[in-house]
């Protein structure tokens, strides 16, 4: 097939990701700015549980209140951190919120109506992995080192002159955050479009029935596709006939946590080291859970 048609399709996929993600990104930024207004007086969130497990679990539950995709969650997480939420708890929020919310539960149920257990596995495993990574990070000796310096200093305002009206301040804060997050989304979309046009998908799919190899393949597919968590269940459905259950659940748990664009967005809040650590631990945990499902449960 002609290279020109391929290039053109690359552009269509690229723009498709951006157009599809833009409403979710803007929604996330608006929620973040609204949080900033609401929490303007408070430096810390006093209503959060103090103990280790309690604060992490509260963050996992918070996702249910923000039914936005990966791209929308990062601005919210950043806002939470500037208001005193510990980095480990913010990671739990980032990992769990995209999948652990009613919208995603519904869409997963819609896709796997015949097998409601898939929804249970997806939610339970997401919670488990997010809590596991969060717990691991709470043992970090200097939690502030997990974050980018700029995020910590950013707590006061968004650089808008104090003389402007609240409406203008809100508009300016939203714009500033939209531009910054949007640029990262663009890079993620470009990478997703490039891999999609260059790697033949059939290369991944010849291996659907191996209990080990299928899990690895579906996790790789999740990274390459970078689809929003609200609709990824329908994509997983396309492989339901040929792939093991463990690999499908691995796809549904792993995709919202680790894909090209969410990793890039996470880099705006956390240091590269933190993001790499989170990605590695998540990969290991999801892979093991997929194998457990294939060998002992499924």
């Amino acid at each position: 097939m002609s290279g020109l048609a391929r290039a053109q399709d690359g552009v269509t996929i690229f723009l498709g990701v951006i157009i599809e993600a833009a409403p979710f990104l803007l929604l996330g930024v608006l929620v973040s700015q609204a949080l900033a207004l609401v929490l303007a007086r408070e430096r810390t969130l006093r209503w959060l549980p103090r103990d280790r497990l309690g604060s992490l679990a509260a963050m996992a539950g918070l996702g249910a209140l923000f039914p936005v995709c990966e791209c929308g969650n990062v601005p919210v997480a950043r806002r939470l951190i500037t208001r005193g939420v510990p980095a480990a708890a913010a990671v739990v929020f980032l990992l769990s919120a995209p999948a652990l919310n009613p919208v995603v539960a519904l869409s997963t149920f819609a896709a796997f109506r015949e097998r409601p257990l898939m929804v249970v596995y997806r939610l339970a495993f997401t919670f488990l992995v997010a809590m596991g990574v969060g717990l691991l990070l709470t043992w970090h000796p200097r939690p502030d080192d997990l974050l980018r310096r700029r995020v910590i200093d950013d707590g006061h305002d968004h650089g808008a002159p104090v003389t402007t009206t609240p409406v203008r301040r809100f508009a300016q804060g939203t714009l500033a955050e939209f531009v910054e997050m949007g640029a990262v989304l663009v890079v993620g979309a470009a990478l997703a479009a490039l891999t999609q046009t260059l790697v033949p998908r059939t290369a991944l799919l010849g291996i659907g029935q191996g209990p080990v190899v299928s899990v690895a393949a579906m996790m790789a597919l999740a990274v390459v596709l970078s689809i929003c968590s609200t609709v990824d269940a329908f994509v997983a459905l396309a492989y339901a006939g040929t792939f093991t259950d463990g690999s499908l659940i691995a796809f549904l748990v792993f995709g919202p946590m680790v894909d090209i664009k969410s990793l890039l967005l996470m880099l705006t809040v956390f240091t590269a080291k933190t993001v790499a650590l989170v990605a590695v631990v998540v990969t290991e945990m999801v892979f093991l859970l997929g194998l457990v499902l294939n060998y002992w449960i499924g």
Partner: protein, 224 residues
């Protein structure tokens, strides 16, 4: 540049609204996201205008340059749906699609109104080719040459989109035509009826075409 962020917001807002106006959004995303995208466009225009007078926030030059790229591409190049080239790269499935996704239409009522996706669902619900023999077919799609089919056969295919162009899955139905098959990528309307044939040693339902008419690309090129 003081107004960089405001200019970017206006550009994206106008781009989304113009795609909404021309129907170009259907080349990129599922119809359920069309209205949210138009609302996003309107909000971005409003945000751009609201911060125009005060000059807008300071943003990094790198972020601004990166963000300017897609919207420039969008304005400079004509909006294009995925081409059949991507169908061969992704591999056209003629097997199952949407398990448990029960047909929302009356299976026996008007088979000549089924889309390619409807037929794929029908065969997923009842894979026995013999039970579909003789049913009339009229579908529109693009021509895809599948090397595993005999030389007089081709697939008539469409992309099925769940969310956006990223997840577009090509699905196709096998067609046997009297004349030589049309060139790959051509949009055609295929009329005929299902027959059972032996393809590479497997019994398979194939559309025996009575007419294969070249046609224009539909305004909504994907199925959902």
């Amino acid at each position: 540049m003081k107004r960089t962020a405001a200019v970017l917001a206006l550009a994206y807002g106008i781009y989304f609204l113009s795609l909404f106006g021309t129907g170009g959004l259907y080349f990129y995303i599922h119809p359920i996201y069309v209205v949210p995208t138009a609302v996003t466009g309107a909000l971005l225009v409003a945000l751009g205008l609201a911060s125009w007078r005060s000059g807008g926030p300071a943003v990094s030059r790198l972020a601004a340059v990166i963000l300017a790229l897609p919207v420039s591409l969008g304005f400079l190049l004509p909006a294009q749906p995925l081409s059949p080239a991507t169908a061969s790269q992704r591999g056209v499935a003629s097997a199952s699609l949407g398990r448990g996704d029960a047909p929302t239409f009356d299976v026996e009522a008007r088979p000549e109104r089924y889309t390619i996706k409807d037929w794929v669902k029908v065969f997923a619900a009842d894979p026995e080719p013999g039970r579909h023999a003789g049913k009339p077919v009229r579908v529109t799609g693009f021509v895809h040459h599948d090397p595993s089919l005999p030389a007089d056969s081709f697939l008539v295919a469409r992309f099925v989109v769940q969310c956006c162009a990223v997840d577009a899955e090509p699905v196709g139905l096998p067609v046997r035509s009297a004349g030589p098959p049309p060139p790959a990528g051509r949009w055609v309307e295929v009329e005929g009826a299902w027959e059972v044939h032996d393809v590479n040693g497997r019994r398979r339902a194939v559309i025996a075409a009575t007419a294969v008419t070249p046609t224009a690309r539909p305004d909504q090129p994907y199925l959902y």
